[in-house]
């Protein structure tokens, strides 16, 4: 039984909205509103959602770049939400993160060598300058760049190269779990392919566990083992990749997968088009938050929020009804078995 690296229970992050003369709290932006998930060692957990889903906020809460409002974040059995100071710093080293925007995630005035050696020296992982530089050289080569790139500045690199540097930087503290927050969204298709391949290779080499956050369903399908689908701050469905993409049971997952434009004009399929827009996280619909756009919503959905429950082992769904939904995407060969 593989170890659970990270478990999140009931995570909430509410941002207060202040207003009025007295600066009272008028309401909350409920970015994350009760999220559970579990990531096992060595796997890639894909977290999918559209804007307002809260997926990026989840990533930031794990690292405590933002402090969670409620809930537990359990890293290898230890709740890290309450840790402070040195104890927390020691745990933080075990996490790595690659951000979405390669043009903003590096200090423009720092050389790559500086960017890579700084965390090592700060955490006293490696004492001397020489050792740190050696390791930096090693890492930079491992991500596909050259040693002399160490002495350059971020602005001299393309987006794809900067992401490689970001990946190298994430690895400087020998992390366990790497959070990838839309790492390829800003990159061109061909560059994206290079970076995704790099990430796969590194995962095998260093035995890393990934939390891959993205809105791009094709990328998630390619990279993930398990997938969690978020909507307006909560988890709608979580299961192994095959199930999510072929036999989803939540209507949102179904619509999401079917909405994907397929780069193959020979295949056409009936698309599920959801009506209306995504509600604002300030005004989350009562009961089931998806009901305003759900083609199957009933009055009951207005009253009670469905809990996230396991329909089968490993397949969690948050819906009052057991719906039999069609395959969301056309299958290329008709002989494919379900």
């Amino acid at each position: 039984m593989t170890q659970t690296v990270l478990e999140i229970k009931g995570l909430k992050k509410w941002f207060p909205i202040t207003g009025g003369l007295l600066g009272r709290t008028r309401g909350y932006v409920k970015a994350v509103d009760g999220v559970d998930l579990e990531i096992k060692e060595g796997e890639t957990y894909g977290l999918v959602g559209e804007s307002g889903s809260g997926k990026t906020t989840v990533g930031r809460c794990i690292l405590r770049l933002i402090e969670p409002t409620a809930g537990e974040i359990i890293y290898r059995g230890q709740d890290i939400t309450k840790l402070k100071g040195d104890a927390f710093r020691r745990v933080r080293r075990k996490f790595g993160i690659v951000f979405q925007d390669p043009y903003a995630s590096l200090d423009p005035r720092q050389t790559i060598k500086g960017a890579l050696t700084e965390p090592m020296k700060y955490h006293k992982i490696l004492e001397s300058e020489e050792e740190a530089v050696e390791k930096a050289k090693d890492l930079i080569k491992r991500v596909g760049l050259n040693e002399d790139h160490l002495y350059r500045f971020p602005h001299e690199f393309s987006g794809g190269q900067r992401q490689r540097i970001a990946v190298a930087r994430a690895l400087t503290t020998d992390p366990d779990l790497v959070i990838l927050d839309e790492p390829t969204s800003f990159l061109d298709v061909s560059v994206q392919a290079q970076i995704l391949n790099l990430l796969s290779d590194l995962q095998k080499e260093f035995n890393l566990t990934y939390l891959f956050i993205s809105h791009n369903l094709s990328v998630i399908e390619h990279m993930s083992n398990r997938v969690g689908v978020m909507y307006l701050g909560a988890m709608m469905e979580a299961a192994d990749k095959e199930i999510i993409y072929r036999r989803p049971e939540h209507p949102y997952t179904h619509a999401l997968i079917s909405a994907l434009p397929i780069p193959n004009p020979a295949l056409t399929h009936e698309r599920v088009i959801l009506s209306g827009d995504i509600p604002s996280p300030v005004n989350i619909p009562s009961g089931c938050r998806f009901r305003t756009r759900c083609p199957y919503a009933t009055d009951h959905c207005k009253e009670k929020e469905p809990p996230l429950e396991a329909r089968q082992p490993g397949h969690l769904v948050s819906c009052h009804y057991e719906l039999k939904l069609s395959a969301p995407i056309p299958l290329a060969e008709t002989s494919r078995k379900t």
Binding site: D188, A193, L217, I262
Partner: protein, 343 residues
């Protein structure tokens, strides 16, 4: 066409040739920096100050857009071409209501308003009721009335049935998807012959994008104009376009009907691109990548601009730039592999 910058001359477009047939949707695909947006901006005449067109012509129904006067160009932009951009927030004026902005567009073509007024028998006051062809311009207040009626029509066309209310709203009060529809409405308002859409679904969420794609499909069926659809997303292209042109580093490298292109990509770049996309259903451990990166257009590679990254490159590719040649059934490629039987 080139950009003049402090760092050097950026040779952005290096001989781009294509045509858009009446009523069809042509997709212009490529990665960032390939010049697709720049091509569109050149057509519409909205290039920044440091840009200049070195040579070439852009023919719209017999008129060369590169040689006409500013005033003529403005008229063309008002009535013949409409362009819609990726980011509706910067495109829509935040201090005007949607109604006011739509009105602005309609008021650009007073002759049309007069025609519509007669056509719909809209009250135009006590003077000269329905004199049709003789009345070229209505008084301002009447123009606004007609404009409003037309606005409601066009909002309906983009599936925003709550037109009356939306006309009174400001852009920030609407969601991203709705803003995008308003932008499309403003483009349709001109009844354009050519509709240019520059990455209009890129910034949208997947489910909203699906709505907009559905809308565009509908509109394409209903309207007679042509569309130039610029995108980097091959999925969108497969959904909407009749023909596709693939661009790389300022050149068109392949052009074909959409089914043909996907079934039988000829240019090595197109092939590489298709293999690099993660597609649901393809069980691949690793994606195939195109080695190297997009060239610096200040010092572009000699000959074929793709040769440094091409797995099939040979001597000629370094020396001579390949021409766009017709291979079969409307499928053209710019590659030495297919010229003069050199495969």
């Amino acid at each position: 066409m080139n950009f003049h910058t402090y760092a050097g001359e950026v040779k952005a477009l290096d001989g781009v040739t294509f045509l858009v047939k009446k009523g069809e949707a042509l997709g212009l695909v490529g990665e960032s920096g390939c010049g697709k947006s720049v091509t569109a901006l050149t057509i519409v005449g909205l290039l920044p100050e440091n840009a200049s067109v070195a040579e070439g012509e852009i023919m719209l129904e017999g008129q060369n857009l590169l040689t006409i006067t500013h005033d003529q160009m403005r008229k063309v932009r008002a009535t013949k071409i409409a362009m819609v951009f990726q980011d509706p927030t910067t495109f829509l004026n935040p201090v005007l209501t949607i109604g006011e902005q739509l009105e602005e567009v309609f008021l650009l073509d007073p002759e049309r308003l007069a025609r519509e007024a007669a056509h719909r028998n809209i009250e135009i006051g006590k003077e000269e009721p329905g004199r049709g062809a003789a009345v070229h311009k209505l008084p301002k207040s009447q123009q606004k009335k007609v404009a409003k009626a037309l606005s409601l029509d066009v909002l309906n066309q983009v599936r925003l049935p709550d037109g009356e209310r939306i006309l009174k709203q400001y852009p920030h009060e609407l969601s991203g998807g709705m803003r995008q529809r308003c932008m499309i409405a403003m483009a349709l308002a001109r009844n354009p012959d050519l509709f240019i859409a520059d990455e209009i679904t890129t910034a949208l969420d997947v489910t909203i994008q699906a709505q907009i794609l559905e809308l565009l499909r509908e509109l394409k069926r209903q309207l007679s104009g042509s569309t130039l659809l610029i995108t980097h997303d091959l999925g969108v292209v497969a959904e909407l376009c009749d023909r596709v042109a693939v661009m790389y580093a300022g050149n068109i490298v392949e052009l074909a009907e959409v089914k043909e292109l996907f079934a039988n990509p000829l240019h090595p770049y197109t092939q590489g691109l298709m293999r690099a996309i993660p597609m649901i259903d393809r069980k691949l451990e690793r994606l195939e990548t195109i080695p190297g990166s997009v060239p610096d257009l200040i010092y572009p590679p000699s000959g074929c601009r793709f040769h440094p990254r091409c797995p099939f490159a040979f001597e000629k590719c370094k020396l001579e730039k390949p021409e766009l040649l017709h291979v079969e059934k409307g499928h053209t490629v710019a590659c030495h592999l297919y010229g003069e039987g050199k495969a």
